[in-house]
């Protein structure tokens, strides 16, 4: 069976499910952010696959480029929050962080 749109979408679906699982289960906040990165990457695969097989243009590439830029911003802010959390609580594990202010 020659590789087509469905194969790429399946890879995207697997990555998305893995990312959702990581976001729901991991206790370490950094690992949780890795799950978010997996989800964003799966969306990007779908964008580019549809762009090649259905749209046959460049629109999907542009959307994926914007998603990459926003993912970089998300990672910067998220990891800064993790560092602030570590400074205030001494840990990066989600179940120990249960106050909004000291």
């Amino acid at each position: 069976m020659t590789v087509g749109l469905e194969h790429y979408l399946t890879v995207g679906a697997i990555l998305f499910s893995l990312g959702v699982f990581a976001v729901m289960t991991r206790r370490n906040t950094v690992a949780l952010l890795m799950g978010v990165e997996l989800i964003l990457n799966s969306a990007n695969i779908n964008f580019v696959a549809f762009s090649r097989y259905v749209e046959r243009g460049i629109e999907g590439h542009l959307m994926a480029a914007f998603v990459i830029a926003l993912a970089a911003a998300e990672a910067a802010v998220g990891l800064a929050i993790v560092l602030a959390m570590f400074r205030n609580f001494g840990t990066v594990h989600v179940e120990t962080v249960n106050r909004l202010k000291r």
Partner: protein, 185 residues
Amino acid sequence: MSGDLVFYGFALLTVLAGFFVVFSRNIVHAGFSLLFTLFGVAGLFALLGADFLAVTQVIVYIGGVLVLILFVVMMTRIPRGYLPRRGFDHMVPAGALAIVLFALLYKVVTGTGWAVREPGPAHPTISEIGARLMTTHIFPFEFVSLVLLVAMIGAAILIREREAPAGEEPAAGGGPAAPDEEVRS
């Protein structure tokens, strides 16, 4: 066909490394597995004819986000003697939900009659992406640059040293200690 083999290689790399990212109990191992996942996704982009995106994926994700993640892993070392429960919460419901989600997505992917047109040979996309970013997509482009600026400033403010508020923790660095964390974005 050799192109199919390349696809299966990259897909296998992406998915296997993704499993390691999710299931590895060691956060450093998970970070390095994420490297292979992102590299596999870059390979898939290249196979799909998205040359610009493949290079951007390597530069931004592997060169930027991953280095940032590993920096934070190093800086948030858990103090000795304190052993939090590592690993996972709610394994069973989360696993069930993830499997159901994947089954649903797979059914949609395979059951829908996509209006697939046979793709032609891949062209270089960089010049067209540049032209589009400066003409039809100028507003999202500027908006994303604004978002990046705000994220940079926000990250710098978030990790700034706290300036000893009102008697609490009086010996916390002694006033205007220069923030030694490096902001990367």
